[in-house]
Symmetry: C2
Subunit: 343 residues, 2 copies
Amino acid sequence: MSTIKDVAKTANVSISTVSRVLNNSGYTSQDTKDRVYHAVEKLNYQKNLVAAAMISKQTATLGLIIPDIKNVFYGDLTRAVEDTAHKLGFNVILCNTDNDLNKEREYIEFLVQKGIDGIIFSTPEVEDKNIRELVKAKPDLPIILLGSEVDGAKVDQVLVDNFQGAYLATEHLLQLGHQQIGYISGQPESYSTIERQKGYETALKDYGISPSEENIILDEFKVDSGYKNGKKMLSQENRPTAIFAGNDAIGVGVYNAARELGLRIPEDISVVGFDHSLFSEIVYPKLTTIKTPIQEMCEKAVQLIVEIAEDKKNFKETITFEPTLMEQQSTQALSKEVIRKIQ
Amino acid sequence: MSTIKDVAKTANVSISTVSRVLNNSGYTSQDTKDRVYHAVEKLNYQKNLVAAAMISKQTATLGLIIPDIKNVFYGDLTRAVEDTAHKLGFNVILCNTDNDLNKEREYIEFLVQKGIDGIIFSTPEVEDKNIRELVKAKPDLPIILLGSEVDGAKVDQVLVDNFQGAYLATEHLLQLGHQQIGYISGQPESYSTIERQKGYETALKDYGISPSEENIILDEFKVDSGYKNGKKMLSQENRPTAIFAGNDAIGVGVYNAARELGLRIPEDISVVGFDHSLFSEIVYPKLTTIKTPIQEMCEKAVQLIVEIAEDKKNFKETITFEPTLMEQQSTQALSKEVIRKIQ
DNA sequence: GTGAAAGCGCTAACAG
DNA sequence: CTGTTAGCGCTTTCAC
């Protein structure tokens, strides 16, 4: 592979001139430019970005840390992040942590040593101490929290209003006449779980209903978990007539549980999900869900981190996007028939 | 951030000694080692991998080029690749091309300039000329084709026996008595589409049935495409009694189409998918599908590429994994009742 | 406008 | 066993 030296030689200029031409820095005559470009073409020269990075301290690479790319939610998110990064001239290194703090630490260390320009953390747990420590140890490293807050970490954040989303979901069910509304959600340590629970409980209270413990199950944001816990919840004596699932995957699990118990959706049981992922579209009937502007959130997150990396902006901000209710076919008004059955 | 110089100073040795200790190269006394390690700890020193890469020409980074991470199949694949890479001490840069050759070329160029240690291409199209050119331009760059071949590109390959998988799927349906078997699959330019079609047609012929054009539709490997084309195919006069879907996503689309047409699965129509992705497990009834050892394939692919990167092994190999039939609930013997209805 | 030279942080001969 | 030295390929002063 040819280097800048070769280009300089065949263009009959010095390497600094080549550098100037290629980076559009400083003045160069048109004639020199032409000669350099010709040489570049002739030699099929490609800049060695490693060497450039050594001086500029910029690698045009971002780290993206998520729990698990197999989860369709992170598929959507990662795609949006990667697309935006690519548009801005950055690559992204993908890291799956399974919410394992040790794994996360390894990744962080590796990324830092590689001189990446910033790290986007998507939905780490609230107690994530790696992030706290990283912020302290490398205050100049651009960091974005995407989708969740971390206790004691003052960094830029791009969030969705989980409380509001959950409130909308629950209120929708309440307005349909449901009173016994279950909440099946993910990891209790997750920011999303926590915030959504607050929204759920607040909506209930606002409608004069006190949340009861039997109607709340926290486990994992997965289909299996929705299935298992859906079955448990729907087998109760006085079962809920509606379920607010912490995400669409859980919603799908609840569908399967309902089917096995001979309950029809939405006739016998209403279900609301969260995320408006592919899941909500492919199940039958289509899952009513909370739609979050995930695309815009990711774009914003990447724009922000690039901005920080380049401008060293010296203040932290938190941007919160509003979710909306996406009413589809899995919810309907509580019927007298169901009320009779339950009692 | 402290450098090797700082460590050398506080440990009271030369920088080459520090390098030796940290890389375990050459001899160093225990005493020196201790002093260096202490200094490292005291200064919280972290090696600058960019500088190291400049000399070693190794970045411990791999590129993974796929069509679209939103597609659950690539979610599974990417996770397996990333996990294995991580175990071997490599990071992976994710690139989504949407099978767009221009985008792919951009990514390749960028990755090469960044000095990545190898590129894994998952399911590029058969005619992908970027790969052919890359192989010619950079014969020393480790490249693996994962899941599909590319015309005229002699590189290491890790494949699944698509022909055999499709044969198994079709034979399974034939043995259940189905004669009219549809094939709805993905992009006609895709290696998987092509190979699977061959297996499908060969099975038919082996059972004395000649493939007919109306029973074959090639479109995209997506739910929507399965839905749209499933509807088309199942609305025909003399509709198939079974459908072999080119992948699970298409299978899910076919489910939705069948439901809209009032056809029950498997009573009225049998369906077989391909991949054994999450899709096949979450639909009702569970989708009979072809299971591929995707995990092992990805592990092998990464092991291979790392081996090539480190040892410069000078021969190319192709490893083909065998798929198996995963019989679930979406297929059943052709009933007289259905035969009557169709005619 | 252009070239010479220093140096980014590290590795790897080569002496000693 | 350890230190000195010469780069890796590039950017960036600083002269001219």
